[in-house]
């Protein structure tokens, strides 16, 4: 990048607000997916006006801009695929207001997800979306990706909790959409913007809804000798009218890897465990927990454990939340997938994934949000072996195809980004994609903002194109 651009950026935000040396830029070549792309400069705005000026500068010099939060994304959404300027929001990390009485918070995009819940805790409130990376991921990133988490089964994803946004459009205009109220007359632009993966606008302020912390939580762990019994339990629990706050499953291979690392108490010879949580009014949590235990026993659960206190609850969750880390110990790399299928198709889908694993000669672990059918198959491979790379990629594509064939989708919460944009034709035809391109152009007419994401490159090419090394090797997942 021209030196003049760097100097102009420095004039805008000060020398300490810009990174451009090769070694500094290296850190911004990755996100949680270990896709790679090389930015030319990183700039750290402190206020909306900085963002506006950065955008105008990028327009004058015709360089790309990409927004970035904590860089924990799992689909390459925050990587500068065409180089250019990365606008890193880590200094715009202020909680501007917690309006406890109206259960709203106004935050800058760089606020860390868990920090907001911690700040709201003294009012008995919290921010419901809880991605596994919540200790480090930012609310701006959550808005871009429409992030989920284990508790979205009952409470919905980020989109259900954002009421308004302040945006800087790629042409430099500042626009407010939505507001503090639950609805505003006109098109629901907030709904469209959440999940647009940073391709429509840079978000400079976010208004979110906070929920009341539940009075009671019951955490259960059901242990099974058969995967099918576990998946049947999931279907039966919802058939009984119970919507757990969370319903997570680990298959036999994964629970063994986790147990070796976390010592959560998972029996090594079991075929699956279900981690479930019900919460809310005390009487309701108790009654639902009792009913879940009955369902699990009817489906031949070997054992159903209840966390007796917060320590036991934390231990059970540790097994789930640190599962990716546990897998990282036993394999040089892994490819995390993120498909969704209808809940009733869990058993046949898992059997087909097992077939695919055998055919490709890989171990594929399964850990997933069973309640909403959101699978996270983990393909274990060694990224140093180019042939394994190729085969892992092919196996991943087959699994995504399988999810779509089962009536599901390509991504439930990780986003499309640059990981799956070439797989979009599995779900959308060229007409659908063209309409999405035009909608993007309504916000981002020359494609300066976060280019080459979400939609397939090469307009008119309906077939699935695959890049040489599009794999998530799970470095930070």
């Amino acid at each position: 990048m021209q030196r003049t651009i760097i100097r102009e950026l420095e004039r805008l935000v000060g020398g300490a607000g810009v990174l451009s040396s090769a070694e500094d830029l290296l850190l911004y070549e990755y996100d949680g997916s270990v896709e790679e792309a090389h930015p030319d400069a990183i700039v750290f705005p402190r206020r909306k006006e900085d963002v506006v000026e950065i955008v105008k500068l990028a327009n004058r010099h015709e360089v790309s801009i990409v927004g970035r939060g904590a860089g924990t994304g799992l689909s390459g959404g925050a990587l500068a695929r065409q180089g250019g300027i990365v606008v890193a929001f880590s200094r715009m990390n202020h909680i501007l207001e917690i309006d406890a009485e109206n259960q709203r918070a106004v935050v800058e995009p760089g606020v860390v997800n868990l920090d907001l819940s911690r700040a709201a805790e003294k009012y008995g409130l919290y921010f419901a979306p809880d991605p596994s990376s919540q200790k480090s991921c930012t609310i701006g990133g959550n808005v871009s990706e429409n992030s989920g988490g284990p508790h979205t089964l009952a409470y919905g994803v980020t989109s259900n909790h954002v009421t308004g946004l302040e945006l800087v459009l790629p042409e430099g205009d500042v626009v407010q959409v939505g507001g503090r109220t639950m609805e505003t007359p006109g098109y629901d632009l907030t709904g469209l913007l959440v999940g647009s993966e940073g391709t429509f606008a840079l978000v400079t302020e976010i208004i979110v809804r906070l929920l009341r912390l539940p009075e009671d939580v019951r955490t259960l762990l059901a242990i099974y000798d058969s995967l099918e019994d576990a998946t049947d339990s999931v279907v039966d629990i919802t058939a009984r009218g119970i919507i757990p706050a969370a319903c997570e499953m680990l298959d036999g291979w994964t629970l063994r890897a986790v147990e070796a690392y976390v010592h959560a108490g998972f029996p090594l010879d079991s075929a699956a465990v279900l981690l479930m949580e019900v919460e809310g009014v005390r009487e309701s949590a108790e009654a639902q927990a009792a009913e879940i235990i009955e369902v699990c026993r009817n489906h031949r659960a070997r054992e159903v454990r209840r966390a007796r206190d917060d320590r036991e609850r934390a231990l059970l969750w540790k097994g789930r939340k640190e599962a990716f880390g546990a897998v990282g110990r036993v394999s040089p790399s892994y490819y995390v997938l993120d498909g969704v299928i209808p809940r009733t198709k869990l058993t046949p889908t898992l059997l087909r994934i097992e077939e695919i694993a055998k055919r490709y000669g890989f171990v594929i672990g399964n850990i997933f949000h069973a309640g909403d059918g959101n699978l996270h198959p983990l393909i274990l491979f060694d990224h140093r072996d180019p042939d394994q790379f190729r085969r892992a990629r092919a196996a991943g594509t087959e699994i995504m195809q399988l999810c779509v064939e089962m009536g599901g989708t390509l991504t439930g919460e990780h986003g499309v980004g640059m990981e799956k944009n070439e797989l979009m034709p599995l779900m959308f035809n060229e007409t659908d994609l063209d309409l999405m391109r035009k909608v993007r152009a309504a916000f981002n007419p020359v494609g300066r903002l976060n280019p080459d994401k979400v939609l397939p490159l090469g307009k008119g090419c309906g077939e699935t194109r695959l890049r040489p090394f599009p794999l998530s090797a799970g470095r930070n997942a």
Partner: protein, 454 residues
């Protein structure tokens, strides 16, 4: 019918086949919107037919209004052009329903009541109970962003709609979202269609998530002498651990309109807080106990538990607020005002003063502490009071000043013409216009009806 209209009708007839084009004035009268009557109403039976009609209409620059149960056509401004009514009420099949997945797909013309009956057979429901349930279609409910008392627990269409299939103004068949409960693949174009009044496309399929019916439910009513007590209860409830599924507040005007409808409401001249809890017996008992105590603390005059028949009646009244109000006074002007709970008491006090100054009765319903419906009720004889237009204008100004997001949902045509029904456009207007051009470049779909003249 003019020569032009005759030739138009014969060309359009080719798209839908005999018997599914209406051109006689008696039939067309039922499609009238704000005094505008179309030249023809078409009753397509498939997405492909809709696409052909819209391609033709786009080429000919004909104004088209998508129509379902004709229950929410009063919302929005009068159309700039209205040549064709595209009536999708005949597209009324349940396309997919897998109870164990808690998901379904329907054509746009399925009525809420029909769907509700089918879901209840399987012990489930879609929390979108809306006004005119027997006639209102799912396509219309979504396009009009019709409101429901159940939003306190279940949110609105935004929280329930998983995906859409639609035809754009140019006749392009497309889709967005999916059929599973969790999905971030591609842009959420379907969210734009909620409340879009048919300005972006014609909906041909809707996918929703469903919920298991609660095991049991109980509705409570606390009566207060004034607004202050009612809000004290609401504040206490928001701070409590209770998780009701309904929390609506009625002013004395609305309580009076609902009286005599079998809901067993307490004495007249009261503000009423209506709360419903659902779940196991122990949960209902706890709500009963704590709500009674909170009501006492807030100096409620009465606290009653409704029996099932009364509950069903009152639930019906809450859903049917708008039709009940306009049934009472055809010139009723109903505002839909989104506001924050803490701003409501002051705003309502102003609203009531305003109505009093203009000698207008009003009826107020506060929905889920999110939206205030204010109905201004002019007397039958307009000579007694002509304060309606100025009162409506002042009310709109008051909302705009106080940061509430207001629109007029229903009003006499004169008011609509004089005041408009939308708040002035904001900074988002440029994007809204560009999006309209993406979906409907010739601006043939419901032209002029939406916010900002879209």
């Amino acid at each position: 019918m003019s020569q032009v209209a005759v030739s138009l009708a014969s060309r359009l007839g080719e798209f839908v086949g005999a018997g599914r084009i209406l051109t006689d004035s008696i039939s067309l009268a039922s499609y009238e919107v704000d005094g505008c009557r179309p030249s023809a109403a078409l009753l397509p039976s498939s997405e492909a037919e809709i696409a052909e009609i819209l391609r033709f209409a786009s080429a000919e620059r004909l104004g088209v209004l998508p129509v379902g149960g004709k229950t929410h056509l009063h919302i929005g401004m009068a159309p700039h052009r209205y040549d064709l009514a595209l009536d999708v009420s005949g597209m009324n099949r349940l396309l997919a329903y897998e109870p164990h997945d808690l998901t379904l797909g329907v054509e746009p013309g399925v009525t809420f009541a029909d769907l509700d009956r089918k879901l209840r057979e399987k012990g489930q429901f879609l929390p979108l109970a809306s006004p005119f349930a027997e006639r209102a279609t799912l396509g219309g409910i979504v396009a009009a962003a019709a409101d429901t008392p159940l939003r306190y627990a279940h949110g609105t269409a935004k929280d329930l709609l998983l995906g859409l299939e639609f035809v754009t103004g140019e006749g392009i068949i497309s889709k967005s979202g999916g059929r599973v409960v969790k999905n971030v693949t591609g842009y959420d174009l379907h969210k734009l269609f909620i409340g879009s009044l048919g300005t972006l496309g014609v909906i041909t399929r809707l996918n929703f998530r469903t919920f298991p019916l609660p095991r049991d439910q109980r509705m409570f009513v606390a009566a207060f002498a004034d607004q202050a007590g009612t809000f004290a209860l609401c504040r206490a409830l928001m701070k409590s651990q209770l998780q009701p599924r309904i929390l609506d507040v009625l002013d004395p005007g609305t309580a009076e309109l609902f009286a005599g409808r079998g809901a067993g409401l307490p004495s007249r001249d009261s503000w009423l807080a209506v709360v419903e809890a659902a779940g196991h017996e122990a949960v209902l008992e706890r709500h009963a106990r704590e709500l009674a105590s909170m009501s006492r603390d807030a100096h409620a005059a009465e606290f009653i538990v409704l029996d099932k028949a009364q509950r069903d009646q009152l639930f019906g009244c809450l859903c049917e607020f708008s039709p009940i109000v306009s049934g009472a006074t055809s010139a009723a002007t109903i505002f839909r005002i989104a506001a924050l709970p803490t701003s409501m008491p002051a705003l309502l006090a102003e609203v009531r003063k305003l109505a009093e100054r203009h000698a207008l009765k009003c009826a107020i319903l506060i929905r889920a502490l999110s939206v205030i419906y204010v109905a201004l009720l002019p007397p039958a004889d307009p000579k007694i009071s002509s304060g309606l237009p100025s009162c409506a204008q002042e009310l709109m100004d008051l909302c705009n000043r106080s940061g509430a997001a207001a629109m007029i949902e229903r009003c006499p045509l004169e008011i609509k013409k004089a005041l408009g029904v939308w708040p002035p456009p904001g900074t988002e207007q440029k994007i809204a216009q560009r999006l309209k051009r993406v979906f409907d470049p010739q601006s043939i779909l419901s032209p002029g009806r939406f916010r900002g003249g879209i």
